[in-house]
């Protein structure tokens, strides 16, 4: 049933005894990879995340250089050039972005009518400002607000959660009660009050976003700290005589870095969205400063007649949100220790 039990003749020297070098048995075949190298290999396989990263880098570059590309300044008002539709050299011959817009129900080349020789790639607004320049200026400010807010969230959240979790006991009790009180207050009301007290502007918005934003991070970090501080490698370090500072920086933080990064990646799009929301309802940035929120607000007012004013900032904000979320997802898959081994 199993095998032939009549055995073939084999060359006798095959049965010579050999001694195996015992080092052989301890050898590790796989190449050595650190956690981060391993995570990068994983992330690289995630096409959506990689494409998103490329798109995001392009958007950031555009946000930095975009305002200087076509020679128009974002705050130059020129009423003669008001309400022009997009017109791009080269593409204009293909029937789109050719400067043709609606005027009293008829399709007219507005550039010809107003005798404008310049090209406004994304058109102009009611005050004749170049929307292309304003879009990238707005993106720049939105991203700036988001990055700064996320950085503040991260620093405050990690510190607060880390201290609360690591020292535990009464410290933890008090700190967690504070968080519970903060969570109990509706964010939007705090934010509106904040902005009414302070001058509206970038600083006010950043503070408004950060004032409760760090709570999520602090909770995650606290839970992670609680989990890791009782792990045996931390106990081992304590029996060797490590001080608290060393334990936190050498053992706890490196292990939590992955989850901190992932969480920050999801904080950024939330901050962008929240800023846009505040600006959209009119308590965010004040004119002439532009952010994606104010631009969308402007576009929303003229949506019916000049949809292009709304279109471009809406596109940029959507792409930003999707890109950040896809990168966050990719990072989560790449860094999640549960996927390991």
């Amino acid at each position: 049933m199993r095998n032939e039990f009549e055995h073939e003749e084999l060359p006798q020297e095959d049965f010579e005894r050999i001694t195996i070098d015992s080092d052989q048995a301890e050898r590790i075949e796989k190449p050595s990879l650190s956690f981060w190298q391993d995570a990068w290999l994983r992330l690289r396989k995630n096409k959506a995340a990689i494409v998103s990263m490329v798109v995001l880098v392009l958007l950031i570059i555009m946000a930095l250089i975009g305002p200087y590309l076509n020679g128009h300044a974002g705050d130059t008002q020129n009423l003669r050039h008001a309400n022009l539709p997009p017109k791009v050299p080269g593409i204009e011959n293909m029937g789109i972005m050719d400067g043709v817009g609606n005027l009293a129900g008829k399709k007219v080349d507005l550039y010809e009518m107003k005798k404008v020789d310049e090209y406004y790639w994304f058109g102009t607004d009611g005050l004749g400002r170049d929307l292309f320049t304003r879009l990238w200026e707005g993106t720049q400010i939105s991203l700036f607000i988001a990055f700064v807010a996320a950085a503040i969230d991260m620093v405050v959240g990690v510190a607060y959660g880390g201290i609360s979790g690591y020292f535990g006991g009464r410290t933890d009790d008090i700190m967690q009660r504070v968080v519970e009180i903060l969570i109990g207050i509706p964010t939007l009301i705090v934010v509106i009050l904040m902005i009414m007290i302070m001058d509206p502007g970038i600083t006010a918005i950043i503070i408004a976003i950060s004032i409760t934003g760090w709570i999520g991070m602090s909770r995650i970090v606290r839970a992670q700290t609680l989990k890791y501080k009782s792990q045996e490698f931390v106990l081992a370090s304590r029996t060797l005589g490590s001080k608290d500072g060393k334990i936190i920086t050498k053992h706890l933080l490196p292990n939590m870095l992955g989850i901190i990064i992932i969480n920050t990646m999801f904080t950024i799009p939330n901050a962008i969205f929240f800023e846009a929301f505040l600006s959209f309802i009119g308590i965010g940035l004040q004119p002439p400063a532009a952010s994606l929120g104010t631009l969308i607000n402007d576009g929303f007012k003229v949506m019916e007649h000049q949809p292009y004013v709304l279109l471009f900032p809406a596109l940029v904000i959507s792409i930003l949100m999707i890109a950040f979320n896809l990168i966050g997802d990719g990072l989560r898959d790449a860094l999640d220790p549960k996927m390991k081994d």
């Binding site: 032939e4 084999l10 005894r17 001694t19 052989q24 301890e26 796989k30």
Partner: protein, 354 residues
Amino acid sequence: MTKILQVKDLELSFHTFGGEVKAIRGVNFDLNKGETLAIVGESGSGKSVTTKSIMRLLPAHSAEYKNGEILFEGKDLTKVSEKAMQKIRGKDISMIFQDPMTSLNPTMTIGKQIMEPILKHQNMNKSQAREQAINLLNLVGIPNAESRYKMYPHQFSGGQRQRIVIAIALACNPKILIADEPTTALDVTIQAQILELMKEIQKKIDTSIIFITHDLGVVANVADRVAVMYGGKIVEIGTVDEIFYNPQHPYTWGLLSSMPSMDLADQKLYAIPGTPPDLLNPPAGDAFALRSEYAMKIDMERQPPFFRVSDTHYAATWLLHPQAPQVEPPAVIIERMKTFPGSRYYVDQTGGNV
């Protein structure tokens, strides 16, 4: 003896990030009706994967059946549909897992959890099922079953939870019960109770058990037959006495001599050097050769076939080839062999070699 399950040339791989892990590399065994077959091996030897493949519990996206068949009642379990498999799972073949904490649903009363498979697989109404569930609880030795029936898992101790898990597994009188390290998470005294319970129940309902463990003491206690797995293959299979008193494979020798015996002290323990093979790149020849002091040239080049020791006892090692040199097993093993009629070291009661 009727064969209730036959596993033939089973090969199974996992597709992982690092490449193809050949977790099972040609496994053959039969399970007879009413017997307990223990599968022993260290972690990564493929013992758990083998039973999960019988139950088809492996993640479909990464596990691939490369070859072979698993015959149960004329059906090849590697090929039946998922729907047909669901009818078999829990009814004909059921499974007990290692951790009684996680194998029960914490939000459901234990009564409901026991009734679930009964209602699903048997034509019973609720009150009949309830009665059956209470009978099962009595069978597995939970006192006051009537009143504890409505309790939640956290209200029971670890040992009692494992009893409940066993009750659920037995709910439909399965033909095969697969126990995957069912006592590893338990204390010795609780382990002893659970093992006694399993043996008792097996006698009552005449089911076949596949018992996976790494603890040779437990094997000696429960098994009728033993299969020793290493590197994704069975390296030796035989009755429990044959494996413990007349082992042939150097790996079995190593396992048996690395356990301290209660009466021999101050003797250095035999330790198998090195670590188990990496199944991402399994060795060409005998997977154990790299850790064996009995290695021969051919072990590096060709995988050994099964050699017959007796009608029930087979071992996959080139040492059994007629041309191979006679080797001396470790002293502890010779001591064991002395008690086994039929082994070459057998010492008769009256003394002297036979």
